[in-house]
Amino acid sequence: MSQVKSIAGRGLPLVGDDIDTDRIIPARFLKCVTFDGLMGHAFEDDRGQAQGQHPFDQPQYKGATFLIVNRNFGCGSSREHAPQALAKWGIQALIGESFAEIFFGNCVAMGIPCVTAASEQVKQLQEAIAQHPQQSVELDLETLTVTCGEVSWPIEMDNGPRQMFLSGTWDACGQLVAQAAQIRATAAQLPYMQWA
């Protein structure tokens, strides 16, 4: 599994608070047994209403790597289809004011870092990218900075998930399964395991 230490690319500012996972991927697209069909459906209804003016449809943001969002992004449903749809569109990392917890966890399990910055700094970054969409953005998880053009901002991420990215253990499955003996020992101590 690969380490995630730094990511470089272009940004896409998506302005708005409390953008929920129903908006990221409407429920009708969850009728699937693989994630393959999600391609192209990210923000489908918002995009329809914006009639071509949604950032996901604007040509200057095509090929963007970073999604720059505001407060409580990814709230609501636990559907991993939401980050999966963003990833299929090309998003590799998110920078925002704050993230909903289940969404954040889903992103970690997929190897997509969600980092936070102060509200003013996120807004500055969104504006800087809107003015110069071709400008390169670089996210460094080792130094916890994001750089856009000449300017750098400090970012934050809890140390647990950060270490998982840096050490390449964000897909925890193998690590968890390797503790089989300890898992069985913990289970054996739980009274309810004997009742059913």
Partner: protein, 467 residues
């Protein structure tokens, strides 16, 4: 850092190891799965050649995609049918207990698990669904997860998690007439905000919760996630034990006494330390309705849509978006807003006590012509009980449709959907843009009794006028 709370005790008891990242590897006592978020997880297991480590600790049902009118197989929707077949195959291949349609025990996952006594105090519970917080009502630590994490639980019965902080939310006193558990949680969310709970588990405490029935506690814990808290719980007490006793999976005989003793020991200590405490007075809670596009945009039923300047600065952006989407103006009363569809059901309010409260309002009255009103029991057992009590007859005579169990129009992954800009009075949990199946559909969240009141008056109405 919290200390001595139920959350701390259960967390410690289920800790398997500390991972190199510093996160906790937490054992999951009960894993619930359904057809939407599990197929990809099983595919990942197959890809990696991994078995299910504790198949007896996973239980499946089907709820999100099932039609609530015609449930004959194959389903009319081939995609829904494919998902059904996939779940049936996975449960068979891996030896997982499955409550299918026709089993007599199928229903919304968060209704059937407590109903059968599967969820118990002191357990950790995970499910690929954000409303898993519901199970905290019995004193379990329960949270929603995504599909990769469903894979992790199947493969190892554990999750990699960072410990949450604990906020005690104390509500004291008696609720006023016409105020239900739904109003309590809508009031808490509108006060603390939809992201107020991020990073926290919510412990619901105080005399108001002490006096609530288990089903009322489920309604409250169900919506903890709408306040940003991945997990909500109530300490187990005599009401919890009375609810559990005799249920299918509840311990029996000597094990029962052992269990009750263990459950009591898990309650938050009198001198427990919390990361935060918030106190509410039950008398301040009105019948509440949401007017906007987040569950935090709620107001008293006799209140008016707030003006931007009445809101904290951080909430104004979403308020502007909501005025436009909902076509509601600041200063306008919510009471009297015309509705098109009335939906009673969901994992929030699809239990027998919810149907009883709604039936009290519906009895002897009639749904206004042109309004579509329907009742979707949360499970086959709820449906059976309701029919035994004659609630189906009351609803039908009042002009409501009486349906088969499922998630229905809460998220509209099935034939139950809003059309165009229809306005729905809904007992469900989310009023997000497009949530109920139409990208311009509008949802007003309220208690089941208030939904019934809306159906028989054709508009948002104060349930107190009908009691």
């Amino acid at each position: 850092m919290s200390r001595g709370t139920l959350f701390d005790k259960v967390w410690d008891l289920h800790t398997v190891s500390t991972l190199p990242s510093g996160q906790t590897q937490l054992f999951i006592g009960l894993h619930l799965i359904h057809e939407v978020t599990s197929p990809q997880a099983f595919a990942m297991l197959r890809e990696r050649g991994l078995p299910v480590m504790f198949p007896e600790r996973t239980v499946a049902t089907v709820d999100h995609i099932v039609p609530t009118e015609n449930q004959a197989r194959p389903f009319a929707d081939p995609l829904a049918e494919e998902m059904m077949e996939e779940l049936e195959r996975n449960c068979k291949d891996y030896g997982i207990r499955f409550y299918n349609i026709g089993s007599g025990s199928q229903g919304i996952v968060h209704v059937i698990a407590p109903e059968q006594g599967l969820t118990q105090p002191g357990m950790t519970v995970a499910c690929g669904d954000s409303h898993t917080s519901t199970h905290g009502a019995v004193g379990a630590i329960a949270f929603g997860i995504g599909t990769s994490q469903v894979r992790d639980v199947l493969a190892s019965q554990t999750l990699a998690l960072s410990k949450l902080k604990v906020r005690k939310i104390e509500v004291n006193g008696n609720l006023n007439l016409g105020v239900y558990a739904k109003d309590v949680i809508l009031h808490i969310i509108r006060t603390l905000g939809v992201k107020g709970g991020v990073g926290y588990a919510y412990e619901f405490a105080g005399t108001t919760f002490d006096h609530m029935t288990m089903e009322e506690r489920m309604t409250v814990c169900n919506m903890a996630i709408e306040g940003g808290a991945r997990c909500g719980y109530v300490n187990p007490d005599e009401a919890t034990f009375a609810y559990l006793k005799g249920r299918d999976f509840a311990p029996q005989g000597q094990a029962w006494d052992q269990a009750v003793n263990w459950w009591r020991s898990l309650r938050s200590d009198a001198n427990a330390e919390y990361d935060d405490v918030v106190v509410f007075d039950a008398a301040d809670i009105p019948p509440t309705v949401t007017w906007g596009i987040t569950p935090g945009q709620g107001i008293a039923v006799d209140g008016v849509i707030p003006a931007p300047e009445d809101l904290p600065e951080g909430d104004r952006f979403v308020a502007q978006e909501a005025y436009q989407y909902m076509e509601l103006q600041p200063g306008q009363p919510i009471k009297g807003t015309k509705v098109d569809v009335c939906f009673i059901g969901s994992c929030t309010n699809g239990r027998i006590s919810d149907l009883r409260e709604a039936a009290k309002i519906a009895q002897g009255r009639h749904v206004v012509e042109g309004i579509k009103a329907f009742v979707v029991p949360g499970s086959q057992r709820v449906k059976q009980q309701a029919e035994l009590e004659g609630l189906d007859k009351i609803f039908r005579e009042a002009g409501f449709e009486w349906r088969e169990p499922g998630c229905s129009m809460c998220l509209a992954m099935n034939p139950d959907k809003l059309i165009g800009q229809q306005v729905s009075a809904s007992s469900s949990n989310r009023n997000f843009k497009g949530r109920q199946g139409s990208s311009s559909g509008r949802t007003l969240l309220m208690s089941p009794a208030m939904v019934a009141a809306a159906a028989i008056t054709g508009q948002v109405s104060d349930v107190r006028d009908l009691l």
